[in-house]
Amino acid sequence: MIDIIETWSDLPSEVKVFILISLVALCGALLFVIFLFSSRQVKNSLKQKESVLRSRFQGSLNVIMLMESSDEEPAASAQFYLSQLQKDMGESRLAKQVMTDQLIGLKKNLVGASADSLTNVFRKLRLNAFSSGKAASFSWSTRAQGLFELAQMDDKDSFERIKSNLHARNVTVREEAFMALVKLDKDSSLQFLNDYHAPLSQWMEMRIHQHLSNSDKRKLPDFSQWYNHSNLDVALFALNMTKQFRQLNAVQKLIALLDDPNKSKVVLTIDTLGDLDAHEAANPVSSKMLEFWDNDVLSRRIAKTLGKIGYAENHWKVLSGYLTHPNYSVRFEAAQSLYKSGNQAKYILNRANSEGSLTTILMHVEDPLLQS
């Protein structure tokens, strides 16, 4: 030992550094190997524990789900199974998490009484307190998980707690809070949007749309109330939802939006009018031709929409005007719209092609296999 220490002290300092680097790197590599195998071990044992807990819970849950729900006190047998679940779960966080995940998983595919009984189980086992605790955590992922669980299990009592996360700094927490509110706010759907000033991504729009698609259509809000929202994301979302849920009573408000200074709103408005088959908007839309001539995107949208809602010769004349537009996709869209608009429009289209400048476009739009 003394020899080693003596040899070490005799070594030049550069050599000592290299040896130290080697040792540190080697120890690091060995540690990673240990972590790697222990992580695998932990993962496997956790999986095993989860599987045991899941199968233990499933039996009791199956019985509870099959029992008829009522406003009265649960039947003695239900009480028995609940206490059984409580006993199985104990105070273990892992067991509580497994149970929560299991309830969410089961509830996803159920509606009516069975789904309600699962919500009841969630409350009776005080898992709402467990999820609420998570929703107040400092860790963003735990907090988001808590919000997600509360929403999935329809815990309306947590509405205010969730609402306080609506302007959280972390985007995932914000998104989960938003989705939780959408899910829980069943009566005055989406009213919290009035005060919503954070960004609203396309991903969120998709999630909200999916949720609204599965809910009672009669309770859908009138999306036109948000067309002039100070948050552009909310206004665009409202336009998109009007289109998706075909809210025909919004047509007049949409026509007024054609004069909006924001171009992205106008683009979406024109699209929406087309998708709603709002023939009454054909004149206002066609009147925008010259104003937006230099904007390729808007010109293309007008050409496409007029193909859907145009009905008179003056609309087809606007479309034939677009056949000389400098942008190819605008010309193409106009030709396609005219081709689909009946014989008179087709005649205008063929006349515009008297010099053959549109021949290849015409061949394309006439090809049956290329019809979109």
């Binding site: 030049p12 050599v15 040792l23 790197a25 590599a29 190997v33 396309q202 061949m363 296999l369 290329l370």
Partner: protein, 486 residues
């Protein structure tokens, strides 16, 4: 006392000292850079995994709000596997998409096989040459409604970049996914790749992890079971890919400094790709070049943008199984890197291009492009010192050990990252094998990679522009062999 007739001893000592110090500084800089990137990658990956705890990607599948995607797959002499490959692409989980197969003037019967298999007929597609390309001979669509998402374009041979540009011209969707036709794409790959575009409007491109599929069980274009390659060379590449994809790109994505999205599978905004001018025909590294050009375009237009990256293994490719083919691939990669760096040399430490100019580009130049030169020069210098008897064993052994141990450490870090994230190699003996590979790689595989890269640069000076033939064993062929063995 050692003396030479030509040099003063003090001058020589000063020369040795300067070279040693320069190599040492470079070694410390490159090691620190990789270490920092690795730590950042791990942290970013953890965030990604936690964030995606809540995500149900299948929701995108049924949503009418999902953006349209064109899958562009160039095919050159792929007659052997083209039918299976197209079927695999047509069965991807996504609703609003089309598959555009570009037959890049194949000399074999690629097109002749496609026509009857998918009941294709020539249509009057009005092809616009938004990006100039070789002539398109015809566009084909299927009469069978089951294949209505399929578009086959037959064109004169012009190389991969040219074929991809035709795809960009023909595409009608907002997003384009450029892929290698012989890759195995995970069924939910598009659902995952499209998500960054949905989350942030500024995203212009996204890339995913490419993994090696040699020896994996593949059936009808689907990956059934992940296995470690049986041969040593592809196994080495597995480790190399894990290290590169999990410990590097994730960090660059976090910094928004990613310059490379693998040509095997990348998703781009079509409008931006076209505005940037499409793929460059004059480089063999067209995948990296396009990303750099798109980024440059956004900078020059003063537009905010993000190049996203997701760590999920989404695409599986067959790695070269013999040294000759691997050498051609690495030769091409080296040439591609140099060509891209040369084309965009304006970015070098140019503050106008933000992080890309000040960090990403210099990193690629110093640590990706120059590293084979430095490593090889270091080796030559070492041989020179051996020849003149100036090697000090007391320094040499600990230094070599330190380099080796650091390489081992990084490989173990990568394996740990894989284990705690995607856990694809589930068998314990696979992990043991990978540890063995990590022990062997720095002395058996890495020197060869350095040599092939150098050769690539020499070929570049000689004016070599070709891709180099890439013979593949083919997954289907593998499956048949397996059955025969069974």
């Amino acid at each position: 006392m050692w003396k030479t007739p030509y040099f003063n001893l003090d001058d020589m000592n000063a020369f040795y000292f300067v070279v040693n110090v320069l190599i040492f500084i470079y070694a410390v800089a490159i090691s620190s850079a990789y270490l920092i990137l690795a730590v950042m990658s791990i942290l970013e990956m953890r965030t990604y995994m936690r964030k995606n705890y809540f995500v149900d990607h299948k929701m995108i599948l049924s949503s009418p709000l999902a953006p349209g995607i064109s899958l562009i797959a160039p095919a050159y002499n792929e007659a052997l596997t083209i039918i299976d490959n197209v079927k695999s692409l047509l069965s991807i989980m996504y609703n609003n998409y089309e598959v555009i197969i570009i037959n890049d003037g194949s000399k074999d019967d690629t097109l002749a096989k496609l026509v009857p298999a998918f009941d294709l007929v020539k249509v009057n597609f009005d092809v616009q040459y938004n990006v100039p390309t070789k002539n398109v001979r015809g566009v084909y669509k299927s009469r069978n409604l089951a294949f209505k998402k399929l578009v086959v374009v037959d064109k004169e041979n012009g190389g991969k970049a040219d074929a991809l540009n035709v795809g960009l011209n023909v595409s009608k969707k907002d997003l384009v996914a450029c892929i290698d036709v012989d890759c195995i794409i995970e069924p939910d790959a598009l659902l995952k790749m499209v998500k960054p575009f949905l989350e942030k409007r500024e995203v212009i491109a996204s890339g995913g992890v490419v993994r090696i599929a040699n020896s994996c069980v593949i059936e009808e274009g689907r990956l059934i079971e992940v296995k470690l390659p049986e041969k040593l060379l592809p196994r080495m590449q597995v480790l190399e890919y894990i290290r590169a994809f999990l410990l590097g790109r994730m960090a660059w994505s976090k910094l928004n400094g990613l310059l490379l999205i693998s040509g095997a599978f990348g998703l781009f905004k079509r409008e931006i790709a076209l505005a940037a001018g499409g793929y460059n025909h004059n480089t063999v590294g067209e995948d990296m070049e396009l990303v750099v050009r798109m980024r440059r375009h956004m900078h020059e237009m003063n537009l905010k943008y993000i190049v996203a990256y997701i760590p999920d293994p989404l695409c599986w490719t067959e790695a070269p199984a013999d040294a000759k083919i691997l050498s051609r691939q690495r030769n091409r990669w080296a040439r591609g890197t140099f060509e891209t760096l040369k084309i965009h040399r304006k970015l070098f430490f140019n503050p106008r291009y933000g992080l890309m100019g000040m960090l990403s580009y210099p990193f690629w130049f110093f640590f990706e492009y120059l590293s084979p030169f430095i490593e090889f020069s270091g080796f030559l210098f070492f041989l020179f010192l051996v020849a003149i008897g100036r090697v000090n064993g007391l320094f040499f052994v600990p230094l070599t050990l330190a380099v080796y141990c650091f390489a081992l450490f990084m490989s173990m870090f990568a394996l740990y990252a894989e284990e705690t994230s995607f856990f694809k190699y589930t068998q314990k003996r696979d992990v043991m094998k990978m540890i063995g590979v990590a022990l062997l790689e720095p002395i058996w595989f890495h020197p060869r990679v350095v040599w092939w890269s150098l050769k690539g640069n020499i070929d570049l000076i000689k004016g070599k522009k070709t891709w180099g033939e890439m013979t593949r064993q083919g997954f289907v062929q593998y499956k048949k062999t397996e059955k025969k063995v069974a």
